[in-house]
Symmetry: C2
Subunit: 311 residues, 2 copies
């Protein structure tokens, strides 16, 4: 399958594995890239020197293209950029912030830059500042997302109508069916998170992988809109967040409740009660934990099969 | 295009126009059916004798199949059923309630029954009580919807994996791209609302049609979760709802704020300030008001065109 996304990143399949905190280390990124997709190292949960280590190890593990996800709002973002430049990373997916901040610098150093957006305005900004590809992420995605709550079905065609640069769809995609739907909406590639969190190579806790494969529709909710809105799995920690929000708790109270280290506790350590656990609505269709390369194979095969079956 | 949905309803294109309050009178239903889709009369905003009038007029206007949307929670639902039976309506789409309530009775009288659901449990219930087709409606849809907030991208494949009866996707679909995406997700037809609200034959106010075609992403929000959750256009009335909800107002206060007749004021009379105005997120891609038959033609043509362009 050839699209502008496979050409831009020089990959076999237009499948990007989202750079997920506590999931997307060098093992997952390398496995995805070896499988013909684009693996991303998720720096969001790393200290700068840890990111360097993952880049080095990823390069040792694969000769194929891989990238780094760079959360612009991170207190480490400047340090991440230095490491990305020093280690000559060739692909960067920025998210959570204004793409103006790093795009020019990264591009000047020959890096291909994609940026994740959740609304039309963000997509137009990407074009303005010279981003190479836009990732349009819908409300159903896990983790942090846009306040407008625009879903993939509504967001992707709206952005497709307004920008000409390569477009990747994200949110609600875990299978060949989802990928086919995304391409129908006007995307030229997909960014997939939750399905790869439930892969053998993801560094999240086994407890999280099990939680994903046993979860059903309605098991996640989009909360913490006063801070940075995020889709959480409905565990006991979530229930407390919900109670606080119902009584209109202040930002300070919410920050206090969330505290520090909760995503590590949840996603990495597998504390299913007190941890902050993030995954997308599409978890409901995921039934097994597999090697990432097999997941890609399965998605691409189902894509072809479903394409033939379209009425 | 042939699917189990075109066969079940004996229609040319697998396109159902949702039975929208204050929009879907006999004119729109007949125009959609004449255009090769399935038109539905939306009884939700009608008195029982008004529904009878619309059924009679619709039958005078078209020889093709059409149906009635029956909101199960309506205080008139028993009266609607009597009229549906007396007037020998052949197709009924039930929504907003338990499909057990009327399915057996309607089926005994030879009526084809579809039921609208927003979650997996609802779809399984449909199969159990003998519904002929399930409409899976995602979070992005306009008007009342499920508390789980599951989007079309996540809901349709989840339900497709679990039921074998004919499946229609709804929510976020207004174009051939959207229809192609829905079919990719496993649907065999689409139910389209907002696009047909912006048709010449829809009985809503011209002000509403203009509001739809000028709206952009982020212009609607899903609120009133303490009452019956609904996606509203963000006007001044909505802002007050939001204020009430932010301070955790009680059900009684919210009921008092909404009062009676607000959807009529908004959708039918076009009061853009004080009216309750409901449409879906996909309004952002709608750019013109057209005859319903032309809308169907355009959707089907774009479907074919986009299908050919799939990578």
């Amino acid at each position: 399958m050839k699209t502008r996304i496979t050409e831009l990143f020089n990959i076999e399949h237009p499948v990007v594995a989202g750079g997920m905190i506590w999931c997307s280390g060098w093992r997952l990124a390398a496995a995805v890239s070896e499988g013909g997709g684009l693996g991303l190292i998720g720096s969001g949960s790393m200290e700068p020197e840890i990111l360097r280590e993952h880049i080095v190890k990823c390069r040792q593990a694969t000769d194929k293209p891989f990238g780094v996800n760079l959360p612009i709002f991170s207190r480490h973002s400047e340090a991440f950029v230095e490491i990305i430049l020093a280690e000559r990373v060739k692909i960067v997916f920025t998210s959570g912030g204004n793409p103006e901040r790093f795009t020019k610098l990264l591009k000047k150093r020959g890096i291909i830059v994609a940026h994740v957006v959740a609304n039309r305005k963000g997509a137009l900004k990407c074009v303005e500042v010279g981003v190479d590809a836009v990732v349009a992420e819908g409300f159903e995605a896990g983790g942090h997302n846009g306040r407008e709550e625009t879903t993939t079905m509504a967001l992707v065609p709206d952005i497709r109508n307004r920008i000409d640069i390569p477009l990747v769809a994200a949110g609600g995609i875990a299978t060949g069916r989802g990928m086919l739907a995304a391409m129908a909406l006007g995307a030229e590639g997909v960014q997939i998170g939750t399905r790869f969190a439930a892969s053998e190579e993801a560094s999240c806790s086994e407890a999280i992988k099990k939680t994903i494969i046993f979860s059903k529709d309605g098991d996640t909710d989009f909360v913490l809109k006063k801070l940075s809105p995020v889709r959480l799995w409905k565990n006991e920690f979530y229930q407390r967040v919900k109670e606080y929000e119902t009584r209109n708790a202040s930002e300070e109270e919410l920050l206090d409740l969330v505290g520090f280290g909760r995503t590590k506790k949840g996603i990495f350590e597998g504390d299913l009660i007190e941890g902050e656990i993030e995954f997308g609505q599409i978890a409901s269709v995921i039934k097994d934990v597999k090697p990432a390369a097999e997941i890609i194979k399965e998605i691409v095969a189902e894509y072809e099969q479903m394409k033939q079956k379209l009425p």
